[in-house]
Subunit: 213 residues, 2 copies
C-alpha cells in the first residue's frame, strides 16, 4: 500500500506526517526508521575501512559487515511499513460490529489476532536492531579508528530503536489473552533488551577507551 | 548548498548516502535527524491530545507544545545540514598548504576555527534535543494517555541524538587548543547530558507507571 511507503517521501515530508495527529506513522514506524539509520551508520564505518592498507587484515570481515548492515537497513525500512499496517489492522478489528454474539466473537478473535501482529512486528524490529548492534560491535572493534564514532552512533540509534519497539510490544502484550504467546514474547523481549544493553555498554567503554588513548 | 540538503531526498536515498563511504552525512547529521524525529513524535502526542474533551484543561498547553515541537523539528533539520558543512570545513582546513611558516600558521588557525564550528553545531543539536526532551516530559505528563508511548519514544530518540551529538563534541574538543573554549564547551556538554539523562529516567518511570496501572 502506497500509504505505508515511508521510503519514497522526503525526510521532511516523513517527519511532517510523523508529527501529525494521523495514527500512523507513530513510534513503531519511527523505531524501524531509526534502526535503519543505525544500520546505515554501521555500513558507513565498514565502508570507510574497506580498501585502507592499515586495515587490510579485516578487509573480508568489513565487506561482509557492510553487506549485512545494508541488508538490515532495507529490512528495517520494510518493517517501518509493516508496523503501520499492523497498527491499522488493530484499529480496524476494534471497529468491527458487535451487535450479535457471533459478531462479538468474530470481533474478539480478529482483535486478538491483530494484536499478535502488532507484537510480532516490533519484536522483529528488535531482532533486526540487535543484529545491527552486533555488527556495530565488530565494526567498532576492527574498523577504521578515525570513524568508530559512526559505528558507535549506529549502535546507539539501534539500541534506542530497540527500546522504543519494546514499548510497542509491551502495550500490545497487555491486551493479549493467549498466555502462552504472551509469555514467549515477553521472554524474547527481555532477552533482547538485556543483550542490547550489554552490547551498547561494551561499545561505549570501547569507544571511550579509543578516544582517551 | 544543495549538497547539504537532507530534507528533500527520500528517506531511502538519505539512508543510502549515510551508509556510503562519503565523509558526510555522518553520525552528527544522523543525530540531528534523529532529534527531529523525536520532536515530531512529541508533536504527534500533543496533536493527538488537542481537541479531546477529556484533555480540554490542557488544550492551550498542548497547542503550545505542538508548535514548539514543530519549530524544534525544523531547527534540527537545519542543524543536520550545518553539521555536514562544519565537518567539511575541518577537512578543508586540514588540506591547506603548509610549506612556509606563514602557511603553517594560517592553516593552524583555520583548523582551530573550523574545529570550534564543528563543536558548536553538535552543542546546538544537544541544546535542541534537551528542549525536545523537556517538551516530551510535559506532553507525557498531561497528554492523551493512549498516545503517551509516542511522547516517550520522542524523548528516547532525542536522548539518543543528544548522546551521539556529544560524541562529536568530544572528538573535536580533543583537538582544540583554546582551553577556555574547551572548558566551557565541556561544562555545557556535561550539564546537558546530565539533564537529558535525568529527564529520560523520569519519563521512563512515568510511562511504566501509566502502563502498569
Amino acid at each position: 500500500m502506497s500509504d505505508h511507503d515511508f521510503k519514497s517521501p522526503s525526510v521532511e515530508a516523513f517527519l511532517e506526517r510523523l508529527g501529525s495527529d494521523a495514527p500512523t506513522p507513530g513510534g513503531g514506524t519511527a523505531a524501524a526508521v531509526t534502526g535503519a539509520m543505525g544500520a546505515a551508520l554501521v555500513a558507513m564505518l565498514a565502508n570507510l575501512t574497506i580498501g585502507r592498507k592499515k586495515y587490510a587484515d579485516h578487509e573480508e570481515l568489513m565487506t561482509a559487515i557492510a553487506e549485512e548492515a545494508e541488508i538490515e537497513r532495507s529490512r528495517l525500512l520494510e518493517l517501518a511499513a509493516d508496523d503501520a499496517a499492523a497498527y491499522e489492522a488493530v484499529g480496524a478489528a476494534f471497529k468491527m460490529p458487535k451487535d450479535s454474539d457471533e459478531e462479538k466473537a468474530a470481533r474478539t478473535q480478529a482483535i486478538q489476532s491483530a494484536l499478535k501482529g502488532a507484537c510480532d512486528v516490533p519484536l522483529a524490529v528488535m531482532e533486526r536492531c540487535l543484529e545491527v548492534i552486533g555488527l556495530a560491535k565488530t565494526s567498532v572493534q576492527h574498523g577504521n579508528k578515525n570513524a568508530i564514532s559512526d559505528g558507535a552512533a549506529g549502535a546507539e540509534f539501534a539500541r534506542s530503536a530497540l527500546r522504543v519497539a519494546g514499548y510497542n510490544v509491551k502495550i500490545n502484550l497487555a491486551m493479549i489473552k493467549d498466555e502462552e504467546y504472551a509469555k514467549q514474547a515477553r521472554t524474547r523481549m527481555d532477552e533482547m533488551e538485556y543483550m542490547g544493553a550489554n552490547a551498547a555498554t561494551w561499545i561505549d567503554s570501547r569507544v571511550n577507551e579509543a578516544w582517551s588513548s
